[in-house]
């Protein structure tokens, strides 16, 4: 399941310096994703996380993701 999230994030952030997906419990439903992308420059943390939620809308809606932790960073 981590691979699915990784693919979705790689697709949504093609210019990302780093995209990392950690299955926190090994159960395939509690994830911590980290995205480092210049797209976040100048955006509030709320708007940065919204972009990640948009990328993961499908697994969030279909219940695949029970819990999601997000870390975002700009390019700097």
């Amino acid at each position: 399941m981590s691979e699915r999230l990784q693919t979705l994030l790689d697709g949504a952030f093609p210019d990302a310096k780093n995209v990392d997906v950690v299955d926190r419990t090994g159960g395939g439903d509690h994830f911590h994703v980290t995205v480092v992308s210049p797209r976040f420059e100048g955006l509030s943390l709320v708007d940065q996380h919204r972009l990640v939620y948009d990328a993961l809308a499908e697994p969030l809606e279909d219940g695949t993701i029970h819990e999601l932790r997000i870390t975002t960073r700009g390019d700097a």
Binding site: V46, H49, Y53, E61, R69, T71
Partner: protein, 130 residues
């Protein structure tokens, strides 16, 4: 807008600091909700909690209003400032206090008072439940 949606929006507008969580401030049922409350407590902020668990419609209507898909959601002065990760990060960097000061002046400290209010149609929305 449904009555519930109106009620949620009124609460967001009326409460200086409001956290929509799973559970109550005294009995939090979710690790992420607890992290958000702990972040608020770490800076000594008073807050009002809303339990989304009694009715799935609360979460649906809230997410429709806020364009934020997950719980918890923390609002300061009517503005969504984030979920657990952001509020925790803001608390760690000192930006949470800055945001509270910017939005609320000094009033947010107020002795670190905490309460939980109900939001379902079957109950008075401002009945203190915890």
């Amino acid at each position: 807008m449904s009555d519930l949606s109106d009620r949620i929006q009124e609460t967001i507008d009326a409460e200086p600091v409001v956290a929509f969580i799973k559970g109550t401030h005294e009995q939090c049922m979710c690790g992420n909700s607890e992290r958000a409350l702990q972040a608020l407590r770490s800076v000594g902020s008073s807050f009002t909690a809303v339990d989304v668990l009694p009715d799935p419609a609360i979460r649906q209507e809230l997410s429709g209003l806020s364009s934020w898909p997950t719980i918890p959601q923390v609002f300061v002065g009517g503005e969504l400032i984030g979920g657990a990760d952001i509020v925790q990060e803001l608390a760690a960097t000192g930006d949470l206090e800055a945001k509270l000061n910017e939005k609320l002046g000094d009033s947010w400290r107020n002795g670190g008072e905490e309460r939980t209010v109900a939001m379902t149609d079957r109950q008075d929305p401002f009945r203190v439940v915890g």
